[in-house]
Amino acid sequence: MSVLVFVEPEDELSLQALALARTLGEVRAVSIEGAYAPAAWAQALVEAATDAEAIVAAGSDRGNELLAHVAARLDQPFAANVTAVAGDTVTRIRWGGSLIEEARLHGSPRILTVAPHTQPAAEPVAVQQLSLAADADTTVRVLETVAESSGGVSLRDAKVVVSGGRGVGSSEAFAIIEELAGLLGAAVGCSRVVTSAGWRPHTDQVGQTGTKISADLYVACGISGATQHIAGAKGAKKILAINSDPEAPIFSTADYAVVGDLHEIVPAISAELRRVRS
């Protein structure tokens, strides 16, 4: 089977997609340079894929977007965020990973993206640069890039995230979360309940519809652990949950737990950190 793989330069997720693509057949890796213009880029992919039996990309923002355009152009089905392929059956994630679907992907070529962090990265391969057709429609393209308004450590890339949920109780009470985050050089996160209540901006939200983090340590304080939230938190290597309810669902996702009132525990951790450092 010949497989066309869209890769982005120096992109871990693209290498993961490549790994799955290799299990399908002979891989041809392509990329596109220049200002991002999804419709035009998709057109280039379609033109390059005339004899491809499968078209694969990473299940990233761009990968999913581009292959959706490709599928729309070809009027073929498209399976996003696939974790495995067996014949015409794909395994893919739903609910941000809280549920798995097995589905039959009809049609040809097979168009699919690869769910992030479900495959080992492949060795880099030679990548063919595609160019856009002269008549490509670039109505939709990136015109400029501006700085994001929020300061502090980026949630997505932070090594440590200290996060608060409903149990924190109020926007003022986030002071203890900020204090601990400050000591650890960590980003402050929160659950969806917190942003809905207006206690924190949405940019702090960890979750399926917020930011998906990849920290070394995620400290979840007063967060019950709804699947919505876990979908954003499970990219962390280790999760420490602090919660007064020992049966909170978060404890079946967390690696470590402290049971009790976060309003006592979090300041105690901050104090202990200061003590050992001095």
């Binding site: 923002d61 959706a68 729309a72 089905p77 679907e101 049971v259 105690a268 950190l273």
Partner: protein, 250 residues
């Protein structure tokens, strides 16, 4: 101006995913329903645009008869009317969903903006908006955290890992939005009461052949893992710091 927002009825899941015995769906007996968080922001944005510029917000869904509840919810926060593409409740793949929406839009045009959530909370297919735009020959921008109407153009911002990409496209356009675009309002009591009598058009649909055909659902392993208890209350602080040191983050 006229804005269409497309939304999807999804269950409000708790801490655990439970499947029906036939592994075809989530067990929703005890669950309430809502729309995807991205879509909530889409509805809020549409209502704000229409509040500022005049016009009409139409909210559309494809789903079972019960999805009227979600359309009424949207009307309660300001959408003017609803379109229910009524199904028997089974899953529709993205291709057939998009086709049905396109058919519905063709009878309702023109819209200045057609808003989607970037992806649905449940199936996460990432493609319905794009397919609809394609079929209608409209520009489509995805993943938006900011929308600004500028005459007959719309300026859009999208997160790009620490920075934001800016797009400016002419209207009419299809826009897929993300949660965080705004903070959606709660319905007021007068809003709730008004929603009852707002117009709702219902179109009966039969499900076409599915090209991405669900076979079964599986709850992934990993649920039910037991965390290692470091301690109780403030007394656990030294062990927590010890752990942080071991992990090299303290």
């Amino acid at each position: 101006m006229r804005v269409l927002v497309c939304v999807k009825r999804v269950p409000i899941t708790g801490g655990k995913m439970v499947l029906t015995a036939d592994e075809q769906a989530l067990e929703t007996r005890h669950l309430g329903f809502t729309i995807s968080p991205h879509e909530e922001c889409g509805v809020e944005e549409a209502v704000r645009l229409v509040e500022a510029n005049g016009g009409e917000t139409v909210v559309l869904t494809l789903g079972p008869a019960e999805a009227e509840e979600q359309l009424r919810d949207c009307m309660a926060i300001g959408a003017d009317r609803g379109i229910l593409l009524r199904t028997d409740g089974g899953d529709w793949d993205a291709q057939s969903t998009a086709a049905a929406i396109v058919d519905a839009i063709r009878g309702e045009e023109p819209f200045d903006l057609i808003l989607f959530g970037n992806e649905s909370a449940d199936t996460g297919n990432y493609q319905v908006g794009i397919r609809v735009a394609h079929a209608l020959g409209l520009p489509v921008v995805n993943g938006l955290k900011k929308i600004e109407l500028q005459g007959d153009q719309v300026r859009c911002e999208r997160d790009a890992g620490g920075t934001r990409d800016v797009y400016v496209v002419p209207t009419p356009a299809v826009l897929s939005v993300l949660e965080g675009l705004n903070l959606p309002r709660y319905p007021s009591v007068p809003g709730r009461l008004r929603a009852k009598s707002k117009p709702l058009a219902v179109v009966e649909l039969a499900r076409p052949e599915q090209k991405l055909e669900k076979l079964r659902l599986v709850v992934p392993p990993g649920q039910g893992k037991q965390a290692e208890i470091l301690g109780e209350g403030a007394a656990a602080a030294p062990k927590v710091v010890e752990l942080m040191q071991q992990l090299g983050v303290a």
